[in-house]
Symmetry: C2
Subunit: 199 residues, 2 copies
């Protein structure tokens, strides 16, 4: 009976989880990854450190889950029937306002990963890999439909092309990618490289 | 007479300049940009701080010039008669060994730029801009020769495509770009996006 009550109390509702992630992102924006402590998260969210560790294991995982939570929708839900439709859908899941808001946060995390193996590994496993797996599924369906030739050499470089689109604006032009920019980039670069005609 | 002697002594020979840049790069690899001081450079190279400041103006400029010095050849010297030849020539100016050696150094500098406006501006002005101008000249000649259509939408994204090739290996695959990788990427992505057939 006591055990059931404990289990129930430690189960977190989706609303509470969302609230907690928002608080983590706010703290990240305020102090950055290195200065963020589990104590501060516990205080800000009025939860116990024990709960945070039990639920997330540690700071890196909590932060990465919070970032992942800002991404609306899952990559594998996208299936519009054409490669162009799927790629456009993938990059318009977030509105420009969210991308703008998260751009500095993501740059800060990228810096922290440089000297933080744990964060880098968690980020790769929980964010980059699932995103890339989703893109690979979208591309495989395009090959299966006959839209892209299975021996197209650009198939090896889909990730590189995407990163070029996302990162260059941030690095060189110092501005977040917008939906308009990303859809033009897909039409001008990714689809032609994959041999798909843009109407 | 005294003035001439002073002028002669403050004039730096190309050999001395190369030696100085090597020392700066060694120090950068040892301590990173933030911890690098002009005092340490002066001590290591047995020169006076006054000379360093007179010659380079400051730390950011000295560091960027040292990095630029590792790049053999100038972008605008490349003119093979075809876009494919020019792009391959551009990315094979440095051998894999140099790219490997400089990869960690460049990542460190990218991190330092994040909180160092002065370094970011100097890096953009003295390294990225001339490199991009060189690429634009190569592309313009291809358009003039009729190799690339002047209204090709990928023309706007040449820089993004290049950055995708260079940065993704470093960021996601955690390895420096090799000549073999970059030439395949040009053939599989950049040329097809520009509508140039690869033999």
């Amino acid at each position: 009976m006591a055990d059931t009550a404990t289990a129930r109390r430690s189960r977190i509702t989706p609303e509470r989880e969302a609230e907690l992630y928002e608080a983590v992102l706010d703290l990240l924006r305020e102090v950055g990854y290195d200065a963020l402590t589990m104590d501060a998260v516990a205080a800000r969210t009025r939860s116990s450190k024990a709960t945070l560790y039990r639920q997330w294991g540690g700071k890196a995982e909590l932060v990465v889950k919070a970032v992942r939570h800002t991404k609306s929708g899952e990559t594998d839900e996208v299936d519009t029937g054409s490669l162009r439709g799927d790629l456009h859908a993938l990059v318009t899941r977030e509105d420009d306002c969210v991308m703008e808001r998260n751009s500095a946060l993501m740059r800060g995390l990228a810096m922290a990963m440089h000297h933080n193996e744990d964060l880098l590994r968690t980020f790769r496993e929980q964010l980059i890999e699932p995103e890339m797996a989703g893109i690979r599924r979208v591309i495989r369906r395009a090959v299966d439909r006959g839209e892209v030739r299975p021996d197209c050499p650009a198939l090896e470089f889909v990730v590189h092309m995407f990163v070029g689109g996302f990162a260059t604006r941030a690095l060189i032009e110092n501005q977040p990618p917008t939906r308009a920019f990303l859809t033009s980039y897909i039409d001008a670069v990714i689809l032609p490289a994959l041999g798909v005609r843009v109407p």
